[in-house]
Symmetry: C2
């Protein structure tokens, strides 16, 4: 007997028929002798409608009321799912965040989970009752409903799995696992049987939208075994696990990319101490997130070119902000370029293998792809290239690192 | 300064535009220096959709999960209304049943209110914050969400007004008050300025769907001054008040009717003790509500005819049930007739005026309308007539009792 947390996303509970399908999956796990908690999202589309109403009333809304409104989407699904389970003859009941209670801090609309009191849930599950928990929500100070922000149901599920000491947390979604690369671009991409937390974290933060980044962090910190699998097919998905569980480590496990990148170059910036702080300080104050940064050595030792990337959505604000301070910063030219993409090779095996970066640079050079910026971490190498080369770069790297399906 | 509870029904909060309109009405009361609590229903149509989903999953549902699902309709409106009030510069917050808490018994889906703990609400209102309360719901044993049954928001509002010692409870709806008769049938019907609790109770239970019967009972028991008025027009509605507040009592205040009537006649029933119990016992056991009953004196003292009415929806079940026991009950013939209506004249003035019944019978006789069954209470006389005479009877009685508008 194991204890499982099963999480179903919005497309998996999009209508009554699919909720019945979810109930049948849950029943299979119960029939196999497992204790089961289910975490559900809102029916797909429901949250968007609720958010639209809030925005229609006021653009600058009280986030506590926003949370009160949008949390109803999950409440509906939790009740309907409990009913569908009862219809199959199972014992089941719905749990809202305040009933558990699942306590959060008071940063409404993007709250963080503080604590989950599992006594009652635990008792219910031990008695053979399936606990159907509304994802995405908890209760904050003053007994107010708080939501965890978009995609928060993944986080709810992992946090619940940690608190309940679950043996596994299955995240049912509309894809059947984590792939070596986006299969819509690289047709030879393979589904990974296992991936480490660290790798998944890099993949998630690079836009492989299988799991919310926060939920992966949480899983890593609490060593929750997470499985990503499809609610529409009957086959195992990808297990996100501790590095030690993976015997045959790949040097490179996957290749991710992000289109949400824009490059900014400042030419002939005075090459003196404090100039980087003068540039990036105001950006930080304006909540503009800077990702990659490269500073070229200047010819004469007096001026330098600085290149960095920001999210596409922030580009215009960033350009205006820097131009407003052109005299103070003392650059000659500001060149924005939204037509860039970031391509990253990811793998925990890099730690013990030299030459991974070299083969990346060589592969791209062979295809005539110019690398504009490079950044690395312990298990990742990212390069910025012209967006027209995205598909070519991904396919070439996928082959070069022996990731192609047989 | 007064303390007011304002209740807005589903059509009054049907969309964002109407919720803004509600907020403006509330603002006017706040600007006038009043402390205000607002009770809101779900957007019209929302509850039906939620109920439809529940029914689609299972016909015999767990009422606790049903309540969890359907209570979300009011939660959405309460949050949106609070936001709309804030948008107008008012302090406001939403309150769900469990946050107040408004405690109910555990008869889920038609729960009764046990107690309302008003400490927090009271403090909020005294601080100048508008309390926006989700109608129709409370919290039952075990911290489960419970709903009060269809139309329960009226009951929420009146109960809240009683608990908060409000000076008035305004029920905003899509009609502008209580009329002497249904204005769709009797064009000369007048809006009543005031009506007593007792009269309103008779009107409500006879199908004048302005206020839910339970809410009128509650208002009467706690002497809550209730006003029924339109949220789409700017004029006073009808006050439901204590009899003493009405100086000039009408003998007849209004004429109500119900189409939901079916007549059943059993002929030649043995005229012996216990026969009524033998007939009506099984009907009560089957939860078939019997309304009017008349027993004719038999010619020979050995057999009698018994006529009674039941709700239209129960007629088929009633007929089957009695026919199954024909031998035991010993009647000769069972004659069902769904084509009847009940017409009632209502007025507290009847208590001190003789001749009210006589003028009713005379008026109907003059129009050639045959009275099939009669029943009376202290402030009401009801007759059963053929449904083809409904409009004629209402108009004739309305004139006879001097209710016609000038």
């Amino acid at each position: 007997m194991a204890r499982l947390v099963l999480k179903f996303g919005g497309t998996s509970v999009a209508n009554v028929e699919r909720i019945r399908n979810v109930a049948m999956r849950v029943k299979r796990e119960v029939d196999a002798g497992n204790e089961v908690a289910v975490v559900v999202s809102a029916m797909s589309g429901a949250t968007n409608q609720l958010v639209a109403w809030v925005n229609e009333i006021s653009k600058f809304y009280d986030p506590r009321e926003y949370d009160t409104v949008v949390a109803t989407g999950e409440q509906v699904t939790s009740g309907l799912t409990a009913l569908a389970l009862q219809q199959l003859g199972l014992k089941a009941r719905s749990w809202q965040g305040w009933q558990i209670p699942l306590r959060t801090d008071s940063t409404h609309s993007k709250a963080r989970i503080d604590a989950i009191e599992t006594d009652e849930l635990d008792r219910a599950m031990k008695s053979g009752e399936v606990a159907v928990v509304s994802g995405f929500q908890g209760v904050a100070e003053g007994n107010r409903i708080a939501t965890l922000g978009r995609g928060g149901s993944d986080t709810s599920a992992v946090a619940l799995a940690a608190a309940l000491h679950a043996d596994r947390c299955d995240i049912y979604t509309d894809v059947d696992g984590v792939y070596t690369c986006d299969p819509r671009i690289v047709t030879k991409a393979r589904k990974l049987e296992k991936i480490t937390y660290e790798e998944m974290l890099e993949m998630a933060s690079l836009g492989a939208k299988v799991l919310q980044t926060r939920s992966v962090e949480l899983a890593m910190n609490h060593r929750v075994r997470v499985q990503v699998l499809s609610s529409f097919e009957d086959k195992p998905g990808t297990m996100v696990v501790d590095e030690e569980e993976i015997v045959e480590k790949q040097v490179v496990s996957g290749i991710a990319y992000s289109r949400d990148e824009a490059k900014v170059t400042l030419t002939k910036v005075a090459d003196r101490p404090g100039v980087a702080a003068a540039i990036f300080g105001p950006l930080a104050d304006a909540a503009i997130n800077v990702d990659m940064i490269v500073q070229n050595i200047s010819d004469d030792g007096k001026a330098t070119d600085i290149t960095f990337t920001v999210g596409n959505a922030d580009l215009d604000r960033c350009v205006k902000l820097l131009n407003d301070q052109k005299d103070k910063l003392g650059f000659v030219e500001l060149k924005p370029d939204p037509n860039v993409v970031k391509v990253s090779v990811i793998g925990v095996g890099m730690r013990s293998h030299a030459g991974v970066a070299l083969s990346m640079f060589r592969t791209l050079a062979e295809k005539g792809i110019n690398i504009q910026v490079i950044s690395t971490s312990e298990i990742k190498i990212s390069v910025l290239v012209d967006e027209q080369y995205l598909e070519l770069a991904l396919r070439a790297l996928h082959t070069a690192y022996h990731l192609d399906a047989a």
